[in-house]
């Protein structure tokens, strides 16, 4: 029996997932390393934010963690126990995860009532009468319990997303993984959902993994932030430190690319941009995978892959030069 006391709630060890992909019109398949050696951990009652551009592997990571995909390599441990242990033990552990998707309408059966959809995780467990729990849950996420008898299309986008949050929480999961769960909502509703998630966490003690391309939204909810690039973690830090002092050039670029609702600030914005697109994860660049877009890249970065190292008090960064005080990591005009 592993020692529960020292093990974090969730421990992900060197997780890898590869896909065989075949381009159209071609017979040869290639290896796409969607998630390539990710390790992270999450404590009970906390939130972990995962941020990165499309194609960085964050959605694959979400599916791996909740057990919708099987890893090619690596382990996912909940309370120190592998979720892919064969048989009922593994299955029970995987049930401790729930997921909230980007498109709430698409994740609910349009022919069933909202109540039936919300009750799903309970009925799957064999709980016979879930209607009371459904009502309680709907109220908790700020919906009128009468909504249970409606069909998903009779709800607005924000209400649908509240209902899918209710569904995720109803069976008392240890961890809820949010994959871009607020991305398709209007701004005023995004803030409502973020606040709701904060409140629910306080009340229920659920842990979140919050995956998003929106750095501000990730920081708004997370205790700890992980930045991914081409299937790898390039930076991990508690969110306060990260907000004050991101270290990896990619994190800096993401932050500088986030537009602020402040015309004065925006006018003063230099062209601190990242060149080009995310390279294909099929043939990722050699050495540091970010070197093709990095304004600081040197020869070393082309040849040697930087390890994820501790830059002080648990602030992890995978960069040869990050934290080097002789070369301040401010990106200059010449970047573009």
């Amino acid at each position: 029996m592993p020692d529960d006391r020292t093990a974090p709630l969730l421990q992900v060890e060197n997780l890898k997932r590869q896909f065989q992909v075949r381009q159209r019109g071609s017979r040869e398949s290639q290896l796409l390393r969607a998630v390539d050696g990710v390790s992270l951990h999450l404590e009970a009652g906390e939130s972990l934010g995962v941020v990165g551009e499309s194609g960085c592997g964050k959605s694959t990571l979400a599916r791996l963690i909740v057990g919708l995909l099987k890893p090619t390599e690596g382990r996912i441990l909940i309370d120190g126990q592998d979720i892919w242990t064969p048989g009922a033990a593994g299955r029970d552990r995987r049930r401790k995860f729930q997921m909230v998707f980007q498109n709430p309408a698409g994740s609910m059966n349009p022919r069933r009532t909202v109540g039936a959809s919300v009750a799903e995780p309970l009925t799957a467990k064999g709980v016979p009468n879930a209607s009371e729990a459904v009502e309680r849950m709907l109220e908790l996420v700020g919906l009128d319990p009468s909504m249970a008898s409606r069909k998903p299309h009779q709800l607005s986008g924000g209400q649908q997303q509240r209902a899918s949050i209710a569904r995720a929480l109803i069976a008392d999961p240890a961890i809820v993984v949010h994959d871009e769960s607020i991305a398709s909502l209007d701004i005023s509703l995004q803030a409502q959902i973020l606040n709701l998630l904060l409140d629910l966490q306080k009340d229920l003690g659920t842990s979140y993994i919050f995956i998003s391309h929106d750095l501000a939204a990730v920081q708004a909810i997370s205790h700890r932030v992980v930045v991914m690039y081409l299937g790898e973690v390039v930076e991990a830090s508690d969110s306060t430190t990260f907000a004050q002092r991101p270290l990896h050039p990619y994190s800096l670029a993401l932050r500088s690319a986030t537009l602020l609702p402040d015309p004065v600030h925006e006018r003063g914005r230099g062209d601190t941009l990242l060149r080009g697109d995310v390279p294909s994860p099929i043939n990722p660049p050699s050495g540091c995978r970010f070197h093709t877009r990095c304004p600081l890249a040197k020869d070393l970065c082309l040849q040697q892959k930087p390890a994820l190292r501790d830059a002080g008090s648990g602030h992890l960064v995978a960069c040869h030069y990050a934290g080097d005080t002789t070369r301040p990591l401010e990106m200059s005009e010449e970047v573009v």
Partner: protein, 315 residues
Amino acid sequence: MLRMIGMRLLGMILVLLAVSALVFALGALIPGDLTSVIVGQEGATEEQFAEVRRKLGLDKPLFLQYFYWLLNVLQGDFGTSPITGRTVTADLLQQIPVSLELALLTLVVSTLIGLPAGVVAAVHANKRLDVLIRMSLLFTFSVPIFVIGILLLLVGSRWAPDLFRVSYTRWVDDPVMHIRSMAMPLLTIAFPITAMTMQMTRSSVLEVLHNPYIVTARAVGVREKRIQYLHALRNALPPIVTFIGFQLGILLGGLIVIEQIFSLPGLGRGMLEAINTRDYPMVTATTLVFAAAFVFINALVDMLYPLLDPRQRGR
């Protein structure tokens, strides 16, 4: 691309081999064989039977018979018909052009009418014109080919007897008479095929017209007609082409009926006659030709796909 065509060809050959084996086996399994046809049903002695069988090679094991048959077929020799006494190949060479002409004409006519009509119906979706077109469609759908054929024959021979009282004439013999002899069969079979092409075009174009890139084309000022017949139709083509290929299969079956009604000396009629007279070499030969046509059409459609959709061509 070349590699893909190669793979396709190999696949075609394998399918045709399988079909030939099946056709041959069916012929062999049907009670009664060529011997009885040649020798006659009654009054022949066992010795006579055995003699004929040996001559025809029917005493050998089935797979050997198949092997020899196949060897001959590959050299273009389908054997000799015991009924007509002519070589099957000679008959086929007479029949194939007739059916092929009818099939190709049907394809051309139905596409030339069906495609634009389908675009018009899609553009006017659910308006009066579209409803009218679709009503007439429904009508042609619900009436079988042979009914249309017989109706045309009955009504037509009354009103325009000149157009109908013609027996099949070859183009080389008299072009005008040839056209007159082909007009009615073509009209009969092109009717439902055109209707189907149009229906398919309508739904495919209708779907494409909802795409954002159509709005983009409008926003840069491309003329509406050009958007409909070029920008939209081009994207609607892949499913339509697949469907037309599929229709050709139905068309092959239709030929048997049409050629019978209008007394055209084509492959379908030849096949039917052969079945009636138990002309086994002819039955197997015509079946094989039909199967080959079907396989060929399917392969052609598959190979057209990358041409029609750049996304299938890879990077």
